[in-house]
């Protein structure tokens, strides 16, 4: 199966993986700042296990409503929790950062869902969260909603390059 997936990106976009063992990111890999001692390490792109998979992102969208994320973050515009559709991140925009935000919670009122929700679903949620600011490929982001139109679809979300979280290339 892995071989097949690797064979074609389009296949990856369509695959529905019901049983797999997505793992939480390794603890040491979750980095919150671009600042580091000594020369900058080139950022190690950890591929999000589901970011190329349309089904996983749409599952993330469904879970986002079911786990009441929408009650606190609305459909990305924020409320009790901060907006998730913009370019500003308190705790990092990388897939492993978003995973950690959801799984471990954050001190100013983000509940730790990791005690109740499995790693697979959290990765799906993370992929959907990132789709709200255009950080996953357009062809996997959900295109429409079954409910009241409240914003442009995720597919149409302009890529909001994380402004305060991404490591910058070394200054000249």
């Amino acid at each position: 199966m892995t071989a097949l997936l690797a064979a074609s990106a389009a296949c990856e976009r369509e695959t529905r993986r019901f049983h797999d063992e997505a793992q939480p990111p390794a603890a040491g890999g979750v980095r919150l700042t671009a600042l580091e001692p000594g020369p900058a390490t080139s950022s190690r792109a950890l591929r999000h296990p589901y970011e190329d998979n349309a089904w996983a992102v749409s599952e993330g969208k469904r879970l986002y409503s079911q786990f009441n994320c929408a009650g606190c973050h609305a459909h990305g515009g924020g409320g009790m929790g901060p907006p998730l559709m913009d370019a500003l991140w308190r705790y990092g925009a990388e897939p492993e950062n978003v995973f950690a935000s959801i799984a471990g919670g954050r001190p100013n009122g983000m509940p730790a869902f990791g005690t109740k929700v499995g790693a697979t679903q959290i990765w799906q949620l993370a992929a959907y969260v990132r789709s709200m600011s255009g950080l996953v490929p357009k062809d996997v982001a959900p295109g429409r909603t079954d409910h009241m139109q409240v914003k442009a679809g995720e597919q149409a979300a302009p890529e909001a390059v994380p402004r305060n979280a991404a490591p910058e290339p070394p200054a000249p």
Partner: protein, 610 residues
């Protein structure tokens, strides 16, 4: 009048009020005031001498009326800034400062810092600061910004609630914590934002969290020890609601056994909402407290067939043991988050030829209720703005008559529901002038599109089941400040504002009414005519409660906290993104231009005549 919490105080203060009431006549002649007869101050049940401001609403009757008249319609234009104070917290400032014995007490939004400012010294330096250090996680379960509506005072102690659902008592002289009682659990979505009322040695406090499926309550704490004296739930069996022999609701719809269970689908009362986050009033003669209960949960009404007692209504209770005396449900089976928490202002007025003890309640559902506060009988319920979500209130049955075409249906988008979820008027408290017999009502004009959805109860997360987006109602203005004449049952005058008027009101014996706008203007208007007398641009939008007092130097001062936020201002205070029109539970889309008009802040401004 510092220790006002005993029966009889009302009588004494009313007499004081009379003498003060006659003093301001000369000055109040300006404007179109001629048609308003000034009457002696016999209508407020308690108003104090006005030198201090010992409770958020000014008095137990919740009038927010001051007998001070040094600042009046003739000289208000000369008001100038006396001093200011930064709270150091840039979130919505909804609190009223208190003034007791030469000290001003200011409580901030989360982290709920309490400052004591020395009014006897130039510039009012800090006497002491008390930091309760509430749990940071409480910020995530506070529905509508991390606000606090102010402290209470009695017998040398300041009492207030922290966002993480504790009540604290602090020594007013030293800032030392005397007791701290935990009342709720943020893991169930329980927070506390309301200002307590102290009555006969009991500190009355309520819980917020109607958006989290809390089981709402009002609790009385012993002011001396902080021990819980009684707790009345607003859902569940009669025993838990403190409904017993004395309970005599006026209307059949509120009568029956265990309605807090039977008016819900099985067990849903356990997560049914009905918190208390507005103001409490007290009538020492009838010895009854009055307060409103919040919306039922979840928002989607399809999921909770039944009247959903005892949410979205008004309770009268005995302060000693909490026993319910009457209840009136303003929104049975609430469809739109139209809480009953708005304040009840206690006034005595001749009503159709008979002197009556009344309660004025500008309802969130858009109706201005005039209620007999001894019995709970509704004498009038008139729309005070554009309402299309209901057809009126049936005065025979007491029941709100919903408009069927605007009723939410799961999965259907219902458009142009007016008023929107925040109602015609939200928390922002009105003021009553016993001289003019007018009620000064800050409020809003918003409608909404609404889709009811499935809801999952997961404790500590929102329990809503609805998507909504709000926008300005008919007329092109989103807020209004007006003077309602409860006898004529109409507006005496109104002032339209661009944004919702989310600040409280204040009115004085100088016939000056004060309020603030979300752009940051603090305004003084002629209370008789609505003519603007003065305005001052503060640093941030105003959503606080103006107060007035006589300083140690003998001068009259007016104070207001500036700092935008709250539900309406969260787009600025919490940086919401209005590209999603459901941001801030739908409010951000109605306020998308607010960030061009104001920025975050948290500053107290104090004004006086030169």
């Amino acid at each position: 009048m510092r220790f006002r919490a005993f029966a009889g105080a009302g009588l004494i203060t009313a007499v004081l009020g009379c003498t003060d009431g006659n003093g301001g006549d000369a000055a109040a002649s300006a404007g179109a005031a001629a048609n308003r007869t000034r009457v002696a101050d016999t209508t407020a049940i308690a108003s104090g001498s006005g030198a201090e401001w010992t409770q958020v609403a000014g008095d137990d009757a919740n009038t927010r009326y001051s007998p001070l008249d040094e600042i009046n319609t003739a000289n208000a234009a000369q008001l100038t800034l006396a001093w200011s104070f930064s709270t150091g917290v840039n979130r919505g400032q909804e609190a009223a400062p208190l003034v007791i014995d030469g000290t001003m007490y200011v409580v901030t939004p989360y982290p709920n810092i309490l400052y004591a400012l020395d009014l006897t010294q130039p510039g009012a330096p800090t006497r002491w600061t008390y930091r309760p250090e509430p749990l940071a996680a409480a910020q995530g379960v506070a529905c509508c910004d991390v606000v606090n509506r102010g402290p209470a005072y009695a017998d040398g102690r300041i009492f207030y609630n922290t966002l993480d659902a504790h009540t604290v008592a602090v020594d007013a002289a030293t800032g030392r914590e005397i007791w701290r009682t935990r009342l709720g659990d943020i893991n169930r979505g329980e927070t506390m934002t309301m200002a307590p009322l102290v009555v006969k040695g009991k500190v009355l406090v309520g819980v917020s969290g109607g958006e989290f499926g809390v089981r709402g309550w009002l609790t009385a704490l012993d002011a001396a020890s902080g021990a819980i004296a009684w707790r009345a739930y607003h859902t569940g069996p009669d025993a838990d609601v403190l409904i017993g022999d004395r309970f005599k609701p006026f209307y059949a719809m509120d009568q029956g056994t265990d309605l807090g269970v039977t008016s819900w689908p099985p067990d849903m009362w356990r997560t049914g909402g009905g918190g208390v986050w507005g103001f409490i009033s007290y009538d020492p003669d009838l010895d009854l407290i009055y307060y409103g209960t919040a919306n039922p949960g979840p928002w989607n009404p399809d999921l909770r067939p039944g009247d959903n007692k005892w949410t979205a209504g008004i309770f009268a209770r005995d302060p000693d043991d909490g026993a319910a005396v009457w209840f009136y449900q303003t929104s049975p089976h609430d469809l739109y988050d139209h809480d009953g928490i708005n304040e009840s202002i206690l006034v005595d007025l001749p009503w159709q030829g008979r002197d009556r003890k009344l309660l004025l309640h500008p309802g969130r559902n858009g109706y201005m209720y005039v209620i007999d506060r001894a019995t709970g009988e509704v004498l009038a319920a008139d729309a005070f703005g554009f309402v299309n979500s209901a057809r009126g209130v049936d005065l025979r049955t007491g029941r709100l008559i919903p408009e069927p075409s605007k009723a939410p249906v799961t999965g259907r988008v219902v458009r142009m529901i007016c008023p929107a979820a925040p109602g015609m008027k939200d928390w922002q408290p009105a003021a009553w002038s016993p001289r003019l017999r007018l009620l000064f009502v800050p409020h809003q004009n918003l409608c909404m599109d609404h889709e009811a959805l499935e809801a999952n109860y997961i404790s500590g997360t929102p329990y809503l089941g609805a998507d909504a987006k709000y926008y300005g109602g008919p007329g092109g203005w989103r807020g209004r400040f007006g003077a309602w004449d409860p006898v004529a049952r109409e507006w005496a005058w109104t002032i339209e504002e661009n944004f919702p008027v989310w600040s409280g009101a204040l009115v004085t014996a100088g016939d000056v009414a004060f309020y603030g706008t979300m752009e940051g203007w603090f305004k003084a208007v002629d209370a008789a005519s609505g003519r603007e007398l003065w305005r001052f641009k503060t640093g941030s939008g105003i959503i606080g409660q103006p107060v007035t007092y006589r300083g140690p130097d003998g001068k009259q001062y007016v104070a207001i906290l500036s700092g935008v936020g709250g539900w309406s201002g969260a787009i600025v205070s919490a940086d919401l993104d209005p590209r999603d029109s459901t941001a801030g539970a739908g409010f951000a889309s109605a306020m998308r231009d607010l960030p061009q008009h104001t920025t975050k802040g948290g500053t107290l401004y104090v004004f006086a005549l030169p």
